[in-house]
């Protein structure tokens, strides 16, 4: 594949019609919540664009994000999108290893200086100089600092890269943080989720390739088109919430009737993601449809949330009974001191009360 070949030429070579590209653009504009009129422009831009270089670094991660992104069941149009990019470095996928792989990385960076997208999965451990996760003897944090300056933008893929994720969960021995905690002078797109929805990554890439800029982001640097609403807002069980019909246990009549799982700890109301609309496994289902509440995996600190996965959002973490007892004792002591001070005042009428 010649690097200077346009996507249109490449697709034509593969027998992919212009009409197919337009249809794809229509699907993507709708997924990105763009006006329908932009589909034609997107198709045109895509046809004229060149393959985008992507350098993917894996830090403190489980490869779940990558697995999800790769395991789209059949070569759909969305899967084809990966042909629009040139994945120049990805340790798990590339054939090269060891110093050969390192060399590839250097070459890719040199060739696309200032233009490549830096994709990160996994959190960045910063404790103790970052020694808890090394690649080729180099700490993740150093690699990030080395390759970020020459990137056009950074994609933080998965909750770990975006916010630190599970590695950051208490007690966080490695000092894990998200990419945005290390790099502050580059455009960053967070695509959180454990794992993130593959279509979201496709959408962001297509947008960047077609329009040459990043899509609109929210205050947490997430693509608004996918993270603008909560699971709860889009949930097909929402009418039951509005009616106050709740499953009280996972095997009661309410659960069988498919009522709202709020009381069983569903975090849908506070979780921003597109699961309820895009769904998983090519639109088959999503956790709530399968009868389990949302865990809130695309939100910061989801692993440490108060009360855990099965405590309803209504609850909070109050003080323990012991602390409450101490507070009561403090109160009684203070009140008693005040009362006895007051008693003293009345028995010493000759004493001027202090002003």
């Amino acid at each position: 594949m010649a690097v200077d070949e346009t996507l249109g030429e490449m697709l034509a070579r593969r027998g992919f019609s212009r009409r197919g590209l337009l249809k794809f653009a229509i699907v993507m504009t709708s997924s990105l919540a763009l006006p329908p009129g932009m589909a034609a422009a997107m198709a045109e831009n895509l046809a004229a664009a060149r393959r985008q270089s992507v350098i993917w670094l894996s830090f403190q991660e489980c490869t779940g994000c990558l697995e999800t992104l790769l395991r789209t069941s059949s070569p759909t149009i969305a899967a084809l999108i990966f042909d629009f990019i040139s994945l120049d470095y990805q340790e798990a996928l590339m054939a090269a290893s060891g110093s050969a792989a390192e060399l590839t990385l250097r070459q890719a960076v040199a060739a696309n200086k200032g233009k490549y997208l830096l994709a990160i999965d996994g959190s960045v451990p910063v404790a103790d100089g970052g020694v808890y996760s090394l690649t080729g003897g180099k700490a993740n944090v150093s690699m990030l600092q080395e390759f970020a300056p020459d990137a056009a933008a950074i994609l933080a893929i998965g909750t770990c890269a975006a916010y630190g994720g599970i590695p950051k969960a208490f007690p966080n021995p490695t000092g894990a943080v998200g990419v945005e905690d290390v790099i502050s002078d580059k455009p960053i797109v967070n695509i959180p989720g454990c794992p993130p929805i593959p279509e979201v990554l496709s959408g962001v890439l297509v947008y960047f390739v077609s329009f040459g800029r990043l899509p609109d982001l929210d205050e947490r640097k997430r693509p608004l088109a996918y993270f603008g609403t909560t699971i709860h807002d889009q949930c097909y069980r929402r009418p039951f919430y509005d009616q106050g019909k709740f499953a009280k246990s996972f095997d009661d009549e309410g659960a069988r009737q498919g009522w709202c799982l709020f009381e069983l700890g569903c975090k849908g109301p506070t979780t921003h993601n597109a699961c309820a609309s895009l769904k998983w496994n090519d639109g088959v289902s999503f956790p709530i449809e399968s009868g389990h509440g949302c865990l809130g995996c695309s939100e910061p600190d989801f692993w440490d949330q108060d009360g855990g996965f099965y405590t309803s959002l209504a609850g909070g973490k109050g003080p323990g009974w012991r602390d409450a007892g101490i507070a009561a004792a403090v109160g009684i002591t203070g009140g008693a001191a005040a009362a006895f001070g007051a008693r003293h005042k009345t028995t010493r009428p000759d004493v001027e009360t202090p002003e």
Binding site: T230, G315, K317, P319, A324, G335
Partner: protein, 219 residues
């Protein structure tokens, strides 16, 4: 830490501890003052006096008939507010969940429609009470900053609760955070202002009922 996790975690803990310490502080500060023993021969034996105190807690809830023409409107408005608040507080599903979480007791919740209507009525009554306080010459004169602070601090949880149930102006997470934070503000303020009447009303009525029963006087 998000606003919501602050509200649900440290905020909740601090507010609860202040609430408990403050209430005990105030109550013990009152009850541990030097007791003035009543030596005069009582008209009623101890048990009757005690009963008088207990009964007065309930009877003082409603003014005598002769007072109604003059105080009826205010009393009804206050009752609409208090009953509405009671329904929302103890009938709303999320509230029952919290009670269950803390004390392990639960009861069936009321339909959401009922809660929505009740909270609307409660809010309207609360607003009317404020208007009344601002217009009635006696209330206007009696009112101190505490009255207005307490009003606001009761208004906010109801208001944010209504917003939360509709999820109109912001997302659930943000509204829930503000709802919980407004309740925490209430918990922190309660021991120090007139909202303390949640406890003092029983103590006050009981004490008066007991003392007046001692005299065989009307309670």
């Amino acid at each position: 830490m998000t606003l919501l996790s602050f509200a649900r975690g440290p905020g909740m803990q601090v507010a609860t501890l202040i609430l408990i310490a403050g209430m005990f502080w105030r109550l013990s500060g009152i009850l541990l003052l030097r007791r003035r023993v009543a030596h005069a021969a009582a008209r009623n034996p101890f048990a009757v006096r005690l009963l008088g105190g207990a009964v007065t807690i309930f009877t003082r809830a409603i003014p005598r008939r002769t007072f109604w023409p003059r105080v009826g409107a205010g009393v009804v408005l206050n009752y609409v507010f208090h009953i509405g608040l009671f329904i929302v507080l103890f009938g709303g599903a999320p509230h029952i969940l919290i009670i269950h979480e803390i004390f392990g007791v639960a009861w069936p919740d009321l339909p959401k429609g009922v809660i929505v209507v009740a909270s609307g009525i409660t809010l309207a009554a609360l607003i009317l009470l404020l208007v009344r306080r601002l217009c009635h010459p006696v209330l206007k004169m009696l009112s101190k900053p505490d009255d207005y602070i307490s009003w606001l601090i009761v208004f906010m949880p109801i208001f944010t609760g209504i917003l939360l149930s509709g999820e109109t102006v912001a997302g659930y997470g943000a509204l829930l955070a503000w709802h919980i934070l407004s309740i925490e503000a209430l918990m922190i303020w309660l021991p120090f202002g007139k909202l303390m009447h949640v406890a003092l009303v029983f103590a006050g009525r009981g004490m008066l009922g007991y003392n007046f029963s001692r005299k065989g006087a009307a309670t």
